[in-house]
């Protein structure tokens, strides 16, 4: 009996480094040799796709790169595939960010990857850069774009950008997309763009924010959302641009399987230890 208890104790107090190494191996193998597990499209991702598909050509879409470098592995693939879909549909994106590095990430990792033949900066898309002030900044931007961003990311006066000639406030946007890792996030966009100006909102969510986001989707305040890397993978499949997210989903599945097995083993050990302890007492 005591031997069993010893095993359960060992499992419960397993050296955390063993878990780390196990996880590193389980993530590395599918990255080196992907298995290609099937990807099912969720209803919320389909809503996003359908909405963007139905937008008329030339519609102005606000895209909030509300992330920093640490959030990029999860939000970057979503932003990249949204932007590609926007360019494919000949929509006109306006990039903004309430995070200091969001607009730069767009220029470093999104725009260079886009397949956008014939598209010209200033005419087909603009990057208005950093919006300071959190939700207050967003509210000011929504009411009057030039009041808070008189110059774009490249320091060009906004009135010199051809695309911005007829765009004065959020009322001119046909859609807002936000991929956020905190504040400003979907709540701020919902309050300032959707409620105050009636702009439909799509959210590219970090998986950790999804439980808090679902009530807004169920109440139809958010058109649709994609959830983390999986959502990006689904969207890549839908738009026929399989890329980083699809390739990484095998590693994600492998990781989840390891964590699932460890949780089950840990709980079984805990129950078994209680059971053996009780028996010993009686």
């Amino acid at each position: 009996m005591n031997e069993n208890k010893g095993i359960f104790d060992k499992i419960e107090n397993m050296n955390v480094r063993i878990i780390y190494i196990l996880i590193i191996i389980c993530i590395a193998i599918p990255i080196i040799r992907p298995v290609g597990l099937p990807i099912q499209i969720s209803e919320s991702t389909m809503s996003v796709y359908d909405f963007i598909e139905k937008l008329p050509e030339g519609s102005v879409v606000l895209v909030g790169f509300e992330t920093g470098a640490a959030g990029w592995p999860e939000l970057g693939p979503q932003l990249n595939i949204f932007m590609q879909h926007i360019f494919d549909k000949n929509l006109k994106p306006i990039i903004v960010s309430g995070n200091v590095d969001g607009a730069q990430l767009a220029e470093m990792y999104t725009i260079p990857q886009m397949n956008k033949p014939g598209k010209v900066y200033g005419k087909d898309w603009v990057n208005l850069g950093y919006i300071a002030g959190g939700e207050s900044g967003i509210a000011a931007f929504a009411s009057s774009i030039t009041s808070i961003t008189p110059r774009d990311y490249f320091n060009t006066p906004v009135e010199n950008l051809e695309m911005m000639k007829d765009i004065k406030s959020a009322a001119d946007f046909k859609l807002a997309i936000v991929c956020s890792w905190g504040t400003p996030g979907h709540s701020d966009y919902l309050r300032q763009y959707t409620t105050n100006f009636g702009v439909p909102l799509i959210v590219g969510a970090q998986t950790t924010t999804v439980p808090g986001l679902v009530p807004y989707y169920q109440s139809k305040q958010v058109v649709g959302y994609t959830s983390g890397l999986r959502g990006a993978g689904e969207y890549e499949v839908l738009t026929h641009h399989p890329g980083y997210a699809v390739a990484s989903l095998d590693a994600a599945s492998s990781y989840h399987l390891v964590v699932f097995v460890l949780i089950v083993i840990g709980n079984l050990a805990m129950v078994a230890k209680r059971f053996t302890t009780k028996k010993e007492v009686t």
């Binding site: 993530i27 200091v100 008189p150």
Partner: protein, 208 residues
Amino acid sequence: MWGILGNWINAILTIAIISFAVPGENIFYRIAEYIMIGVTAGYAVVQGIRVVLNLGISPMMGGQAYMLLPILLGLLVYTRFSKQYGYLSRWPIALMVGSGIGVSIRAIPEVDIMNQIKASFLPIVGVNWDVAVSNIILLIALLSTLFYFFMTVEQKGALRQISVVGRYSLMILFGAYWGSQLMTRSTMFIGRMSFLIKDFLFPLLGLG
């Protein structure tokens, strides 16, 4: 040349940060951490200066003299370094807090209360059985969770059971949050591993 150098710096800093997991706290991890904090703070300062120049200084130099007022209010924040005049820093902060709350509170009743209540009126007849079951579960979870936080009546007997259902509903929510938290963290790690293997190691070994 700069691309290769950037890749090396990227890889070394990534390995330094990950090294915390296996050998534990070490000097390489600390260096990488301090570099990150320094770069982030420096970048934020530069962006902040740019905002002040574009939204404050430039318009003021262009004749909009009233822009001096927000600049002065902003400068008052720095009085907190003085014992004698530190109280002045409360004024701009009070203004920021007040205007921030005012801006968001306008839409909160509609977004977080009215529309959520409207969305909880769900049909349980005339719909597929699975939708009906799902709607019933949602309604039970909603009412019992609200009741869990109802403190004006002592929760005992049947009322306590409703409260217990509310507690279990919350437990399920916390489980969902924890699961999604795991997924977010795993994605970050996968991103780094993917970079190390595909963008650093493979080209280095001539495999990519």
